[in-house]
Protein backbone atom coordinates (compact mmCIF):
# COMPACT_ATOMS: atom_id res chain seq x y z
CA UNK A 1 0.00 0.00 0.00
CA UNK A 2 1.25 3.47 -0.82
CA UNK A 3 0.37 5.93 1.90
CA UNK A 4 1.00 9.67 1.79
CA UNK A 5 0.89 11.70 4.99
CA UNK A 6 0.39 15.45 4.58
CA UNK A 7 2.31 16.94 7.47
CA UNK A 8 2.78 20.52 8.65
CA UNK A 9 5.44 22.01 10.90
CA UNK A 10 3.87 24.32 13.47
CA UNK A 11 4.77 26.26 16.65
CA UNK A 12 4.38 23.97 19.66
CA UNK A 13 1.32 24.41 21.86
CA UNK A 14 3.35 25.95 24.70
CA UNK A 15 4.25 28.93 22.50
CA UNK A 16 3.64 32.34 24.00
CA UNK A 17 2.12 34.10 21.00
CA UNK A 18 3.44 37.56 20.24
CA UNK A 19 2.10 39.46 17.26
CA UNK A 20 4.86 40.28 14.78
CA UNK A 21 5.79 43.61 13.23
CA UNK A 22 3.47 43.09 10.26
CA UNK A 23 0.50 43.01 12.66
CA UNK A 24 -0.82 39.93 10.87
CA UNK A 25 1.37 36.95 11.77
CA UNK A 26 3.23 35.85 14.88
CA UNK A 27 6.76 36.87 15.78
CA UNK A 28 8.87 33.73 15.11
CA UNK A 29 11.58 34.67 17.63
CA UNK A 30 12.19 31.90 20.18
CA UNK A 31 9.36 29.79 18.78
CA UNK A 32 9.91 26.05 19.03
CA UNK A 33 8.61 24.30 15.89
CA UNK A 34 7.31 20.74 15.93
CA UNK A 35 5.34 18.22 13.88
CA UNK A 36 1.68 19.28 14.07
CA UNK A 37 0.31 17.09 16.91
CA UNK A 38 -2.70 15.92 14.89
CA UNK A 39 -0.37 14.96 12.01
CA UNK A 40 1.52 12.71 14.45
CA UNK A 41 -1.61 10.54 14.69
CA UNK A 42 -1.69 10.44 10.90
CA UNK A 43 1.97 9.40 10.64
CA UNK A 44 1.51 6.74 13.34
CA UNK A 45 -1.58 5.33 11.60
CA UNK A 46 0.29 5.15 8.29
CA UNK A 47 3.14 3.26 9.93
CA UNK A 48 0.75 0.83 11.65
CA UNK A 49 -1.06 0.10 8.40
CA UNK A 50 2.24 -0.50 6.62
CA UNK A 51 3.44 -2.76 9.45
CA UNK A 52 0.17 -4.69 9.50
CA UNK A 53 0.26 -5.45 5.79
CA UNK A 54 3.97 -6.19 5.86
CA UNK A 55 4.71 -4.11 2.81
CA UNK A 56 4.14 -0.68 1.35
CA UNK A 57 5.60 2.78 1.56
CA UNK A 58 4.89 5.84 3.66
CA UNK A 59 5.71 9.19 2.09
CA UNK A 60 5.65 12.46 4.01
CA UNK A 61 4.43 15.44 2.00
CA UNK A 62 5.15 18.84 3.52
CA UNK A 63 4.73 22.40 2.28
CA UNK A 64 6.89 24.79 4.23
CA UNK A 65 10.03 26.87 4.64
CA UNK A 66 13.57 25.52 5.10
CA UNK A 67 13.09 24.81 8.81
CA UNK A 68 10.34 22.31 7.97
CA UNK A 69 13.10 19.80 7.27
CA UNK A 70 13.39 19.26 11.04
CA UNK A 71 9.80 18.09 11.27
CA UNK A 72 10.31 15.96 8.17
CA UNK A 73 13.32 14.28 9.79
CA UNK A 74 11.21 13.57 12.89
CA UNK A 75 8.58 11.88 10.74
CA UNK A 76 11.24 9.87 8.93
CA UNK A 77 12.76 8.93 12.28
CA UNK A 78 9.35 7.59 13.38
CA UNK A 79 9.56 5.26 10.39
CA UNK A 80 8.32 6.96 7.24
CA UNK A 81 10.26 5.94 4.13
CA UNK A 82 10.74 9.13 2.17
CA UNK A 83 9.60 12.70 1.96
CA UNK A 84 8.74 15.44 -0.48
CA UNK A 85 9.44 18.96 0.77
CA UNK A 86 7.56 21.59 -1.21
CA UNK A 87 9.55 24.68 -0.35
CA UNK A 88 7.94 28.05 0.24
CA UNK A 89 8.74 31.08 2.38
CA UNK A 90 5.28 32.61 1.93
CA UNK A 91 3.72 33.26 5.35
CA UNK A 92 0.38 34.43 3.93
CA UNK A 93 -0.82 31.24 2.29
CA UNK A 94 -4.40 30.29 3.11
CA UNK A 95 -6.02 26.85 3.10
CA UNK A 96 -6.99 27.19 -0.54
CA UNK A 97 -3.40 27.88 -1.62
CA UNK A 98 -1.99 25.08 0.53
CA UNK A 99 -4.58 22.58 -0.67
CA UNK A 100 -3.82 23.35 -4.32
CA UNK A 101 -0.10 22.81 -3.69
CA UNK A 102 -0.69 19.46 -1.99
CA UNK A 103 -3.29 18.27 -4.52
CA UNK A 104 -1.13 19.22 -7.49
CA UNK A 105 1.73 17.18 -6.04
CA UNK A 106 -0.52 14.23 -5.19
CA UNK A 107 -1.78 14.21 -8.78
CA UNK A 108 1.75 13.17 -9.80
CA UNK A 109 1.93 10.45 -7.18
CA UNK A 110 0.56 6.95 -6.76
CA UNK A 111 -1.32 6.55 -3.49
CA UNK A 112 -3.92 4.26 -1.93
CA UNK A 113 -4.46 6.39 1.13
CA UNK A 114 -3.77 9.99 2.17
CA UNK A 115 -3.67 10.76 5.88
CA UNK A 116 -3.42 14.10 7.66
CA UNK A 117 -4.36 15.59 11.02
CA UNK A 118 -7.82 17.05 11.45
CA UNK A 119 -6.34 20.54 11.87
CA UNK A 120 -3.08 22.38 12.28
CA UNK A 121 -2.66 23.89 15.74
CA UNK A 122 -1.46 27.23 14.38
CA UNK A 123 -4.29 28.35 12.08
CA UNK A 124 -6.85 25.84 13.44
CA UNK A 125 -8.58 26.05 10.05
CA UNK A 126 -9.31 22.31 9.71
CA UNK A 127 -9.78 22.60 5.95
CA UNK A 128 -6.92 20.81 4.22
CA UNK A 129 -8.24 17.24 4.33
CA UNK A 130 -11.67 17.93 2.79
CA UNK A 131 -10.27 20.54 0.39
CA UNK A 132 -7.60 18.23 -1.04
CA UNK A 133 -10.10 15.38 -1.29
CA UNK A 134 -12.49 17.62 -3.25
CA UNK A 135 -9.69 18.66 -5.63
CA UNK A 136 -8.69 15.02 -6.18
CA UNK A 137 -12.30 13.77 -6.24
CA UNK A 138 -11.62 11.07 -3.68
CA UNK A 139 -13.71 10.07 -0.65
CA UNK A 140 -12.88 11.79 2.63
CA UNK A 141 -13.67 11.02 6.26
CA UNK A 142 -12.72 13.61 8.90
CA UNK A 143 -12.14 13.54 12.70
CA UNK A 144 -11.44 9.82 12.60
CA UNK A 145 -10.80 7.94 15.84
CA UNK A 146 -10.64 4.44 14.37
CA UNK A 147 -9.64 3.27 10.90
CA UNK A 148 -9.79 -0.16 9.26
CA UNK A 149 -8.51 -0.87 5.77
CA UNK A 150 -9.65 -4.05 4.06
CA UNK A 151 -9.97 -5.16 0.44
CA UNK A 152 -9.61 -1.72 -1.04
CA UNK A 153 -12.16 -0.11 1.29
CA UNK A 154 -11.92 1.89 4.50
CA UNK A 155 -14.18 1.91 7.52
CA UNK A 156 -13.77 4.94 9.76
CA UNK A 157 -15.26 6.04 13.06
CA UNK A 158 -15.94 9.79 13.08
CA UNK A 159 -16.25 11.54 16.44
CA UNK A 160 -19.32 13.75 16.01
CA UNK A 161 -21.84 15.43 18.30
CA UNK A 162 -23.80 12.87 20.25
CA UNK A 163 -21.77 9.84 19.29
CA UNK A 164 -19.76 8.04 16.64
CA UNK A 165 -20.64 7.99 12.95
CA UNK A 166 -19.24 4.89 11.25
CA UNK A 167 -18.58 5.51 7.56
CA UNK A 168 -17.29 3.44 4.67
CA UNK A 169 -15.79 4.19 1.30
CA UNK A 170 -13.43 2.96 -1.38
CA UNK A 171 -9.71 3.61 -1.65
CA UNK A 172 -7.93 5.80 -2.60
CA UNK A 173 -9.28 8.07 0.11
CA UNK A 174 -8.39 10.96 2.44
CA UNK A 175 -8.67 10.46 6.19
CA UNK A 176 -8.10 13.19 8.79
CA UNK A 177 -6.93 12.03 12.21
CA UNK A 178 -8.44 12.95 15.56
CA UNK A 179 -6.81 12.45 18.94
CA UNK A 180 -7.50 8.93 20.10
CA UNK A 181 -6.87 7.31 16.71
CA UNK A 182 -3.68 5.81 18.13
CA UNK A 183 -0.77 6.53 20.47
CA UNK A 184 2.08 7.97 18.33
CA UNK A 185 5.47 6.35 18.86
CA UNK A 186 8.59 8.24 19.84
CA UNK A 187 11.42 8.08 17.35
CA UNK A 188 14.06 5.62 18.53
CA UNK A 189 17.76 6.44 18.42
CA UNK A 190 18.09 3.92 15.59
CA UNK A 191 15.22 5.62 13.80
CA UNK A 192 16.88 9.01 14.13
CA UNK A 193 20.13 7.65 12.68
CA UNK A 194 18.36 5.94 9.80
CA UNK A 195 16.32 9.06 9.03
CA UNK A 196 19.46 10.85 7.89
CA UNK A 197 19.77 8.46 4.95
CA UNK A 198 16.16 8.52 3.82
CA UNK A 199 15.48 10.51 0.64
CA UNK A 200 13.94 13.97 0.91
CA UNK A 201 13.03 15.46 -2.44
CA UNK A 202 12.91 19.26 -2.52
CA UNK A 203 10.53 20.80 -5.03
CA UNK A 204 8.82 24.00 -6.09
CA UNK A 205 5.15 23.91 -5.14
CA UNK A 206 2.50 24.44 -7.82
CA UNK A 207 0.10 26.59 -5.93
CA UNK A 208 -2.71 29.05 -6.44
CA UNK A 209 -2.82 32.41 -4.64
CA UNK A 210 -4.52 32.83 -1.28
CA UNK A 211 -8.24 33.60 -1.48
CA UNK A 212 -8.59 35.17 1.96
CA UNK A 213 -6.46 38.02 3.22
CA UNK A 214 -5.47 38.63 6.82
CA UNK A 215 -6.29 42.23 7.69
CA UNK A 216 -4.92 42.13 11.21
CA UNK A 217 -4.11 39.92 14.17
CA UNK A 218 -4.98 40.93 17.72
CA UNK A 219 -4.80 39.56 21.23
CA UNK A 220 -7.96 38.29 22.90
CA UNK A 221 -9.70 40.63 25.35
CA UNK A 222 -7.91 40.48 28.67
CA UNK A 223 -9.70 38.13 30.99
CA UNK A 224 -8.80 39.29 34.45
CA UNK A 225 -9.15 37.07 37.46
CA UNK A 226 -12.19 37.90 39.53
CA UNK A 227 -12.47 37.27 43.21
CA UNK A 228 -11.77 34.47 45.60
CA UNK A 229 -15.11 34.00 47.34
CA UNK A 230 -13.62 32.03 50.21
CA UNK A 231 -11.37 29.26 51.44
CA UNK A 232 -13.76 26.72 52.94
CA UNK A 233 -17.29 25.35 52.74
CA UNK A 234 -18.66 28.56 54.25
CA UNK A 235 -17.99 30.22 50.92
CA UNK A 236 -20.38 27.92 49.07
CA UNK A 237 -23.69 29.66 49.89
CA UNK A 238 -22.14 32.99 48.88
CA UNK A 239 -20.86 31.50 45.61
CA UNK A 240 -24.29 30.16 44.74
CA UNK A 241 -25.87 33.50 45.63
CA UNK A 242 -23.39 35.34 43.39
CA UNK A 243 -23.96 32.97 40.48
CA UNK A 244 -27.72 33.33 40.86
CA UNK A 245 -28.09 37.04 41.65
CA UNK A 246 -24.96 38.72 40.29
CA UNK A 247 -23.83 36.66 37.34
CA UNK A 248 -27.35 35.29 36.76
CA UNK A 249 -26.07 32.06 35.24
CA UNK A 250 -27.97 29.61 37.47
Amino acid sequence: MKIVVCMKQVPDTETKVRIGSDGKTIDPTDVNYVVNPYDEYAIEEALRIKEATGEGEVTILTLGPDRAINAIRTALAMGADRAIHLKTDDTYLDSHAVATALANELKNMEYDLVLTGKQAVDDDAAQIGPRVAALLDIPCATIVTKLTIENGTFTANREVEGGVEVVEGALPAMITAQKGLNEPRYASLKGIMMAKRKPVEEKEPQLDEAKVEILKMEYPPERKGGRIVGKDVDAVPELVRLLHEEAKVI
Binding site: S95, H96, A125, G162, L239
Partner: protein, 327 residues
Protein backbone atom coordinates in the same frame (compact mmCIF):
# COMPACT_ATOMS: atom_id res chain seq x y z
CA UNK B 1 -31.58 44.07 -7.00
CA UNK B 2 -31.32 42.48 -3.58
CA UNK B 3 -28.33 40.23 -3.05
CA UNK B 4 -28.42 36.87 -1.33
CA UNK B 5 -27.10 35.26 1.81
CA UNK B 6 -27.32 31.49 1.77
CA UNK B 7 -27.34 29.61 5.05
CA UNK B 8 -26.98 25.85 5.31
CA UNK B 9 -29.11 24.81 8.29
CA UNK B 10 -28.15 21.48 9.78
CA UNK B 11 -30.74 19.12 11.18
CA UNK B 12 -30.42 15.71 12.72
CA UNK B 13 -33.32 13.26 13.17
CA UNK B 14 -35.88 15.95 12.45
CA UNK B 15 -34.44 18.54 14.83
CA UNK B 16 -32.36 21.54 13.89
CA UNK B 17 -28.99 21.75 15.58
CA UNK B 18 -28.85 24.77 17.89
CA UNK B 19 -26.11 26.06 15.60
CA UNK B 20 -28.65 26.25 12.74
CA UNK B 21 -30.65 28.92 14.58
CA UNK B 22 -27.45 30.81 15.42
CA UNK B 23 -26.39 30.75 11.76
CA UNK B 24 -29.85 31.89 10.64
CA UNK B 25 -29.72 34.88 12.98
CA UNK B 26 -26.18 35.77 11.94
CA UNK B 27 -27.20 35.43 8.30
CA UNK B 28 -30.19 37.72 8.88
CA UNK B 29 -27.97 40.42 10.37
CA UNK B 30 -25.43 40.24 7.55
CA UNK B 31 -28.22 40.28 4.98
CA UNK B 32 -29.72 43.38 6.59
CA UNK B 33 -26.33 45.11 6.37
CA UNK B 34 -25.98 44.07 2.72
CA UNK B 35 -29.57 44.80 1.73
CA UNK B 36 -29.92 41.14 0.84
CA UNK B 37 -32.35 38.27 1.32
CA UNK B 38 -31.69 35.16 3.38
CA UNK B 39 -32.27 31.75 1.85
CA UNK B 40 -31.93 28.66 4.04
CA UNK B 41 -31.04 25.25 2.64
CA UNK B 42 -31.94 22.14 4.63
CA UNK B 43 -30.98 18.55 3.82
CA UNK B 44 -32.80 15.48 5.02
CA UNK B 45 -35.53 12.93 4.54
CA UNK B 46 -39.16 14.12 4.98
CA UNK B 47 -38.13 17.46 6.43
CA UNK B 48 -40.40 19.95 4.67
CA UNK B 49 -42.59 20.41 7.72
CA UNK B 50 -39.83 20.90 10.29
CA UNK B 51 -37.89 23.16 7.93
CA UNK B 52 -40.60 25.80 8.33
CA UNK B 53 -39.34 26.36 11.90
CA UNK B 54 -36.67 28.63 10.39
CA UNK B 55 -39.42 31.16 9.75
CA UNK B 56 -38.98 32.31 13.31
CA UNK B 57 -35.41 33.38 12.57
CA UNK B 58 -36.08 35.88 9.83
CA UNK B 59 -35.27 33.86 6.72
CA UNK B 60 -36.90 34.94 3.47
CA UNK B 61 -36.96 31.58 1.73
CA UNK B 62 -36.46 27.96 2.74
CA UNK B 63 -35.14 25.38 0.31
CA UNK B 64 -35.44 21.73 1.25
CA UNK B 65 -33.32 19.11 -0.44
CA UNK B 66 -35.18 15.91 0.31
CA UNK B 67 -33.68 12.55 -0.44
CA UNK B 68 -33.70 9.23 1.43
CA UNK B 69 -29.90 9.30 1.06
CA UNK B 70 -29.85 12.52 3.07
CA UNK B 71 -31.20 10.94 6.24
CA UNK B 72 -27.52 10.87 7.15
CA UNK B 73 -24.68 13.12 6.05
CA UNK B 74 -23.91 12.32 2.39
CA UNK B 75 -21.00 14.63 1.56
CA UNK B 76 -20.86 14.52 -2.25
CA UNK B 77 -24.64 14.77 -2.46
CA UNK B 78 -24.80 17.79 -0.18
CA UNK B 79 -21.94 19.44 -2.10
CA UNK B 80 -23.68 18.89 -5.44
CA UNK B 81 -26.91 20.49 -4.23
CA UNK B 82 -25.10 23.41 -2.59
CA UNK B 83 -23.09 24.14 -5.73
CA UNK B 84 -26.25 24.11 -7.85
CA UNK B 85 -28.01 26.36 -5.36
CA UNK B 86 -25.07 28.78 -5.33
CA UNK B 87 -25.15 28.74 -9.12
CA UNK B 88 -28.78 29.82 -9.08
CA UNK B 89 -28.71 32.29 -6.19
CA UNK B 90 -25.30 33.84 -6.70
CA UNK B 91 -25.02 34.64 -2.99
CA UNK B 92 -22.46 37.08 -1.70
CA UNK B 93 -22.20 35.13 1.52
CA UNK B 94 -22.68 31.47 2.44
CA UNK B 95 -22.78 30.47 6.12
CA UNK B 96 -22.58 27.08 7.87
CA UNK B 97 -22.37 26.14 11.53
CA UNK B 98 -18.86 24.99 12.51
CA UNK B 99 -20.22 21.65 13.67
CA UNK B 100 -18.56 18.35 12.71
CA UNK B 101 -20.70 18.34 9.60
CA UNK B 102 -20.20 21.99 8.74
CA UNK B 103 -16.43 21.73 9.15
CA UNK B 104 -16.41 18.75 6.80
CA UNK B 105 -18.82 20.19 4.25
CA UNK B 106 -17.83 23.85 3.89
CA UNK B 107 -14.20 23.21 2.80
CA UNK B 108 -15.39 20.81 0.09
CA UNK B 109 -17.73 23.47 -1.28
CA UNK B 110 -15.06 26.19 -1.09
CA UNK B 111 -12.58 23.89 -2.81
CA UNK B 112 -14.91 23.12 -5.73
CA UNK B 113 -15.49 26.86 -6.21
CA UNK B 114 -11.83 27.80 -5.72
CA UNK B 115 -12.71 30.38 -3.07
CA UNK B 116 -11.62 31.17 0.46
CA UNK B 117 -13.26 29.96 3.66
CA UNK B 118 -13.11 31.47 7.16
CA UNK B 119 -13.59 28.62 9.60
CA UNK B 120 -14.85 28.58 13.18
CA UNK B 121 -15.63 32.31 13.20
CA UNK B 122 -16.45 34.12 16.40
CA UNK B 123 -17.44 37.37 14.71
CA UNK B 124 -18.81 38.65 11.40
CA UNK B 125 -19.37 42.17 10.14
CA UNK B 126 -19.92 44.03 6.90
CA UNK B 127 -17.60 46.84 5.84
CA UNK B 128 -18.06 48.64 2.51
CA UNK B 129 -20.34 45.86 1.31
CA UNK B 130 -17.78 43.17 2.08
CA UNK B 131 -17.79 40.48 4.73
CA UNK B 132 -15.10 40.66 7.41
CA UNK B 133 -14.70 37.50 9.49
CA UNK B 134 -13.03 37.25 12.89
CA UNK B 135 -11.66 33.92 14.04
CA UNK B 136 -9.35 32.49 16.68
CA UNK B 137 -5.90 31.13 15.85
CA UNK B 138 -3.25 29.42 18.03
CA UNK B 139 -6.05 27.94 20.11
CA UNK B 140 -7.47 31.37 20.83
CA UNK B 141 -4.20 32.98 21.91
CA UNK B 142 -4.82 35.46 19.08
CA UNK B 143 -7.63 36.43 16.73
CA UNK B 144 -7.40 37.40 13.05
CA UNK B 145 -9.72 39.39 10.83
CA UNK B 146 -10.09 38.14 7.28
CA UNK B 147 -11.41 39.61 4.06
CA UNK B 148 -12.30 37.57 0.98
CA UNK B 149 -10.94 38.03 -2.52
CA UNK B 150 -14.07 36.83 -4.31
CA UNK B 151 -17.70 35.79 -3.91
CA UNK B 152 -19.17 33.70 -2.48
CA UNK B 153 -17.64 34.65 0.86
CA UNK B 154 -17.94 31.47 2.89
CA UNK B 155 -17.72 31.11 6.65
CA UNK B 156 -18.43 28.49 9.31
CA UNK B 157 -19.62 29.87 12.63
CA UNK B 158 -18.43 28.56 15.99
CA UNK B 159 -21.38 27.11 17.94
CA UNK B 160 -22.56 29.44 20.74
CA UNK B 161 -20.36 32.30 19.54
CA UNK B 162 -23.45 33.80 17.93
CA UNK B 163 -26.83 34.12 19.61
CA UNK B 164 -30.00 32.83 18.05
CA UNK B 165 -32.75 35.47 18.02
CA UNK B 166 -36.34 34.84 17.21
CA UNK B 167 -37.46 37.43 14.69
CA UNK B 168 -40.96 36.81 13.43
CA UNK B 169 -41.70 38.50 10.13
CA UNK B 170 -44.94 39.55 8.53
CA UNK B 171 -45.35 36.62 6.20
CA UNK B 172 -44.03 33.09 6.39
CA UNK B 173 -41.07 32.25 4.16
CA UNK B 174 -42.07 29.95 1.31
CA UNK B 175 -40.74 26.40 1.54
CA UNK B 176 -39.57 25.10 -1.81
CA UNK B 177 -38.25 21.69 -2.77
CA UNK B 178 -34.90 21.64 -4.51
CA UNK B 179 -35.01 19.65 -7.70
CA UNK B 180 -31.40 18.52 -7.88
CA UNK B 181 -31.33 14.74 -7.96
CA UNK B 182 -28.63 12.71 -6.30
CA UNK B 183 -28.33 8.95 -6.50
CA UNK B 184 -26.41 6.50 -4.35
CA UNK B 185 -23.59 6.03 -6.85
CA UNK B 186 -22.60 9.67 -6.34
CA UNK B 187 -21.98 9.27 -2.62
CA UNK B 188 -18.41 8.21 -1.87
CA UNK B 189 -18.57 7.98 1.93
CA UNK B 190 -21.67 6.27 3.29
CA UNK B 191 -22.82 6.15 6.87
CA UNK B 192 -23.09 2.54 7.98
CA UNK B 193 -24.25 3.17 11.53
CA UNK B 194 -24.49 5.78 14.23
CA UNK B 195 -23.42 4.81 17.72
CA UNK B 196 -25.15 7.12 20.19
CA UNK B 197 -23.22 8.15 23.28
CA UNK B 198 -25.13 6.84 26.29
CA UNK B 199 -28.22 8.31 27.86
CA UNK B 200 -29.12 11.77 26.54
CA UNK B 201 -25.83 13.42 27.46
CA UNK B 202 -25.84 17.13 26.72
CA UNK B 203 -23.39 17.95 23.95
CA UNK B 204 -20.50 19.98 25.39
CA UNK B 205 -20.34 22.43 22.48
CA UNK B 206 -24.06 23.21 22.89
CA UNK B 207 -24.22 23.29 26.71
CA UNK B 208 -25.16 26.43 28.62
CA UNK B 209 -23.48 25.14 31.77
CA UNK B 210 -20.50 22.80 32.06
CA UNK B 211 -19.09 21.17 35.19
CA UNK B 212 -15.59 19.98 34.44
CA UNK B 213 -13.15 17.79 36.39
CA UNK B 214 -9.37 17.57 36.27
CA UNK B 215 -6.44 15.80 37.87
CA UNK B 216 -7.62 16.90 41.31
CA UNK B 217 -10.57 14.51 41.03
CA UNK B 218 -8.12 11.69 41.78
CA UNK B 219 -10.13 8.94 40.07
CA UNK B 220 -13.08 8.08 37.82
CA UNK B 221 -15.46 7.19 40.63
CA UNK B 222 -15.26 10.75 41.97
CA UNK B 223 -16.83 12.11 38.81
CA UNK B 224 -20.16 10.80 40.12
CA UNK B 225 -20.57 13.87 42.28
CA UNK B 226 -19.83 16.12 39.30
CA UNK B 227 -22.51 14.24 37.37
CA UNK B 228 -24.93 14.79 40.26
CA UNK B 229 -24.15 18.52 40.31
CA UNK B 230 -24.48 18.66 36.53
CA UNK B 231 -27.88 16.95 36.64
CA UNK B 232 -29.14 19.54 39.13
CA UNK B 233 -27.88 22.39 36.96
CA UNK B 234 -28.92 20.88 33.63
CA UNK B 235 -25.25 20.89 32.73
CA UNK B 236 -22.86 18.80 30.68
CA UNK B 237 -19.80 17.19 32.29
CA UNK B 238 -16.38 17.94 30.82
CA UNK B 239 -12.85 16.86 31.65
CA UNK B 240 -9.33 18.18 31.39
CA UNK B 241 -6.67 16.38 29.39
CA UNK B 242 -5.18 14.97 32.59
CA UNK B 243 -8.44 13.23 33.47
CA UNK B 244 -8.82 11.86 29.94
CA UNK B 245 -5.22 10.70 29.62
CA UNK B 246 -5.59 8.94 32.98
CA UNK B 247 -8.47 7.01 31.45
CA UNK B 248 -11.07 8.42 33.84
CA UNK B 249 -13.25 10.04 31.14
CA UNK B 250 -13.63 9.49 27.39
CA UNK B 251 -11.82 11.76 24.95
CA UNK B 252 -15.15 13.11 23.71
CA UNK B 253 -15.51 14.80 27.13
CA UNK B 254 -12.17 16.59 26.90
CA UNK B 255 -12.20 20.37 26.91
CA UNK B 256 -9.06 22.05 25.68
CA UNK B 257 -6.72 22.56 22.78
CA UNK B 258 -6.68 18.89 21.79
CA UNK B 259 -10.28 18.42 22.89
CA UNK B 260 -13.40 20.50 22.43
CA UNK B 261 -13.72 24.26 22.42
CA UNK B 262 -16.74 25.33 24.47
CA UNK B 263 -18.51 28.63 25.15
CA UNK B 264 -21.04 28.03 27.91
CA UNK B 265 -22.61 30.72 30.07
CA UNK B 266 -21.05 29.04 33.11
CA UNK B 267 -17.96 26.83 33.34
CA UNK B 268 -17.18 25.27 36.71
CA UNK B 269 -13.60 23.95 36.79
CA UNK B 270 -13.15 21.43 39.58
CA UNK B 271 -9.63 20.29 40.44
CA UNK B 272 -8.29 21.77 37.21
CA UNK B 273 -5.05 23.73 37.38
CA UNK B 274 -5.70 25.77 34.24
CA UNK B 275 -2.89 24.97 31.82
CA UNK B 276 -2.74 27.19 28.71
CA UNK B 277 -4.06 24.33 26.60
CA UNK B 278 -7.13 23.89 28.83
CA UNK B 279 -7.83 27.63 28.86
CA UNK B 280 -7.71 27.50 25.06
CA UNK B 281 -10.78 25.31 25.14
CA UNK B 282 -12.93 27.23 27.67
CA UNK B 283 -11.52 30.75 27.80
CA UNK B 284 -14.53 32.23 26.02
CA UNK B 285 -16.98 31.00 28.67
CA UNK B 286 -19.13 33.85 29.95
CA UNK B 287 -18.51 33.07 33.63
CA UNK B 288 -15.76 30.85 35.02
CA UNK B 289 -15.78 29.36 38.51
CA UNK B 290 -12.68 27.58 39.85
CA UNK B 291 -12.52 25.16 42.76
CA UNK B 292 -8.98 24.13 43.60
CA UNK B 293 -6.99 23.74 46.79
CA UNK B 294 -3.86 25.26 45.22
CA UNK B 295 -4.02 29.06 45.53
CA UNK B 296 -1.30 29.34 42.87
CA UNK B 297 -3.27 27.41 40.26
CA UNK B 298 -3.28 29.47 37.03
CA UNK B 299 -7.03 28.95 36.66
CA UNK B 300 -7.65 31.52 39.40
CA UNK B 301 -6.17 34.17 37.13
CA UNK B 302 -8.95 33.60 34.64
CA UNK B 303 -11.84 32.66 36.93
CA UNK B 304 -14.53 35.18 37.78
CA UNK B 305 -15.22 33.44 41.09
CA UNK B 306 -12.96 31.03 42.95
CA UNK B 307 -12.94 28.93 46.05
CA UNK B 308 -9.53 27.86 47.30
CA UNK B 309 -10.35 24.67 49.16
CA UNK B 310 -10.50 20.90 48.85
CA UNK B 311 -13.01 20.01 46.14
CA UNK B 312 -14.08 16.94 48.14
CA UNK B 313 -15.44 19.35 50.78
CA UNK B 314 -16.75 21.96 48.37
CA UNK B 315 -18.57 19.93 45.72
CA UNK B 316 -20.93 18.11 48.15
CA UNK B 317 -21.68 21.47 49.78
CA UNK B 318 -22.33 22.98 46.36
CA UNK B 319 -24.74 20.16 45.54
CA UNK B 320 -26.71 20.85 48.74
CA UNK B 321 -26.76 24.59 48.11
CA UNK B 322 -27.98 24.18 44.51
CA UNK B 323 -30.72 21.83 45.73
CA UNK B 324 -31.81 24.59 48.15
CA UNK B 325 -31.82 27.13 45.36
CA UNK B 326 -34.04 24.92 43.24
CA UNK B 327 -36.65 24.65 46.00
Amino acid sequence: MAGNVLIVAEQRKGQFRKAAYEVATAGRKIADDLGAEVTALVFGKDISAMAAELNAYGVDKILVSENDLFDNYAPEGFVKVILETIGNLNPEVVLFGATSQGKDLAPRVASKLGVGLASDCTGLRVENGKLIAKRPVYAGKAFIELAFKANPQIATLRPKAFTAEVKEKGKAAPVEKVSVSVDASEIKTTVKEFQETGGGKIELTEADIIVSGGRGMKGPENFKMLEELADLLGAAVGASRAAVDAGWRPHSDQVGQTGKTVSPNLYIAVGISGAIQHLAGMGSSKVIVAINKDPEAPIFQKADYGIVADLFDIVPALIEEVKKLKN
